[in-house]
Symmetry: C3
Subunit: 319 residues, 3 copies
């Protein structure tokens, strides 16, 4: 089956999802990111890789944090960045998504970074660009509905590789609202491809999708059981709206059952690392003592995230 993310030479054409991405491509992105980590430490944090290229941040859903990381990454690659908050503009004039894309492609865009509340929107855009023969435009999924958040998944992999070197001996636990989490989905696909032997999902049954076991993930509803002996803990952000929706009792109740406290962290391996995609709800899914503790690598994740996004954009622009 043809992978819509790859061009006819098997190179990355778009980054839509980690699902189905071959291991060599994942490793290529991580290796490239490694070379960019140094750039942001330099006096002049810029490389001319995308000079004169036009990157459009198409945010159909507001996310200043994610938009900022892509904007910095693109500017450090010397690209021209244009931010478009689409919900506020053409959408209100009744223009269709694909007419908007046609227009922006006609402006000789080089890259669309797409954030959308609907799963599949970046795929739709990529498929459309192929249909209209705009092969020079690359699409990066910056989060679509519940589906995928591939650059977050990649920066999580970069972080794990940085601290643990080898994926092949690890036990990784993902804790929280896996049902609604595009981060969890992207992480599970990446961890599987990179050869992690044991992936665990920890959370209340109402927030664990049925598909997890088919994906080879071990399910735990008891966090104390699930954290035993793990090397990596990936905490997920609890969306407040879940509480209102009746899927969960209250933030306090959730913290009592699934919040990561120092006591629970002590159940993991002594050198286990704690990750979180941010923004954190302190006192809901994670105790401040853990968030600010020595095992937390939450801020390095952010730093690596810029390098990973530079790598993805740089690789796409070069293909």
């Amino acid at each position: 089956m043809h992978n819509p993310q790859l061009n006819k030479n098997g190179e990355l054409q778009h980054l839509l999802t980690i699902e189905g991405l071959p291991k060599p491509i994942l490793n290529h992105i991580l290796d490239t990111a490694s070379s960019f980590v140094g750039v942001s430490d330099r006096e002049v944090k810029k490389v001319p890789l995308m000079r004169g290229k036009s990157v459009f941040n198409l945010f159909f859903e507001n996310s200043t944090r994610t938009r900022t990381t892509f904007e910095i990454a693109a500017k450090r690659l010397s690209a021209d960045v244009i931010n478009l908050n689409i919900s506020a503009s053409s959408a209100s004039k009744g223009e269709s998504l694909l007419d908007t894309i046609d227009n922006l492609a006609a402006m000789q865009a080089d890259m669309f970074v797409v954030r959308h509340s609907q799963s599949g929107a970046p795929h739709l855009i990529a498929a459309h660009l192929s249909r209209i023969n705009q092969h020079h435009v690359h699409v990066v999924n910056a989060g679509d509905g519940r589906h995928a958040h591939p650059t977050q998944g990649l920066l999580d992999m970069y972080t794990i590789r940085h601290y643990k070197k080898d994926f092949s001996q690890l036990t990784v636990a993902i804790v929280g609202d896996i049902l609604h989490s595009r981060v969890a989905r992207s992480d599970i696909h990446a961890l599987t491809t990179l050869g992690v032997p044991e992936i665990r999902a920890i959370g209340p049954l109402t927030l664990l999708p049925g598909s997890l076991e088919q994906m080879g993930v071990r399910i735990f509803t008891d966090i104390n059981e699930g954290l035993k002996g793990v090397d990596v803990i990936i905490m997920l952000r609890l969306q407040n709206e879940r509480m209102n929706g009746g899927l969960l009792p209250s933030a306090q109740e959730y913290f009592k059952s699934y919040g990561l406290t120092p006591e629970r962290l002590a159940l993991a391996k002594p050198d286990a690392i704690v990750m979180h995609p941010g923004p954190m709800n302190r006192g809901v899914e994670i105790d401040s003592a853990v968030a600010d503790g020595t095992q937390a690598v939450i801020l390095p994740q952010v730093t690596f995230g810029i390098a990973v996004r530079m790598a993805v954009m740089g690789i796409l622009a070069g293909n």
Copy 2:
């Protein structure tokens, strides 16, 4: 009478309206645009013509699409671009338009790209800049009320010239809500100056201004009559608010009477081109089969629009 758009050497000082612009200046803009069409195809889509110049996008009325085209054009000329959504800022602090302009000019602005819901606002700004001896600041009208949208008019001319080469033998039809359309006004002035022998306006009488005949435009209320034998069809966007205002029955009714269908298009010359300033209301003023058909040049208009805006900005910055 002195033309406020020209400096004392007869060169373009501001672009406020196409009305009264001499033919050599129109041709100079189109010729310059022609040299920029190639820039956007290059690996590095940038020329250093406006390096270190400060371009302010002053949008007193929201229009992400138009703002984006000017932002890209300015960045491809290497200018620094500052976007100001004025309605949301000083205006709310009660500062007058001209005080705002004084301030921005004092910041050593080089160019104001002005979008305003009131006709004449860019003229007012240009006249004020002249009065306060800020001759180094250039104004580009990016659409003012019902009055003018000169860069849209120019890109329409570029498109027609690209496909038809010679203006002197053409019949051009403009279809739709001409009464409220700054695009139509700008197009009619440009077509007249460039020597198009026959300009037709097609639409319901309620949407055709009385001044058309004085401008030498032939009026048709029957679209089938109006399209016969034309070389160029310029469709206008139907503003939804017209329907509510009682000027028009319904979108469906409008489409039945004035929508451009393949059958109606067949009444024009076989090689007629179809233009639209976007965003399109598919199924209201234009059938999707026409919008996506082989005679539509709607997306090339967008591409040429970037080059035309680069040309206008580059010429102004050089004068």
Copy 3:
């Protein structure tokens, strides 16, 4: 006592307030600004001093005008600028201010330009950056609550020095709502440090803070008395909300008692200059005849403001 704005070599690490800044540092900023005034007059208004540096405009309170001046200043220093309107983003996701700062610092920011409605917010951020050992990130206060607006104070000093050369013989009057004005506070500290022998505060008693006399400021409730023989008049903007709050009767009443008219201006020295931080309320605190008159230096203030902000950012980035 350690000054949190200075690094261990006594150089400027952050610009948080003018209070406590040594005179040599003030003079160094003004001298540096002087060299930048010329840059904005050049064909290419850019110097490469901050090429590849990432400047974040963190505006927790909307102020397009101030944000614009910092954005232009940073771009003329060749920095990459990222605008963040924080109220609209993470804050709504419940992330704490310091978590936001941690995240942005982890993106290898070089400078935060901070505007906040709460006094002390930039200090809090600077102290936090020091605590987490992010010494490479500099903070510039772009206005915090009623506390300070140091770049406005500095540009006011630049303006006075430009027109009056020597501070040591001057009488300077500040007129208006001094109680709520961060500009007034910053000006008083700067004037005092630079050796101005007589500073006067003019306004209704309800708008004059009790601390003024301890700061060595002479108080006048009668504007005609206060303006006699002064060299410099700094008008303050009257916030409309003061009128609603009951501290003042009406705008008309205020103008009658404290508005700067040509007649009142005539009480000052014949070569006195009139300053205003903008945006002006014409007919409330200042008569248009004065605002547009020959003694007003309100627009030169804006021009100098860009140079002063370039100086501050350039000096910080170099330390």
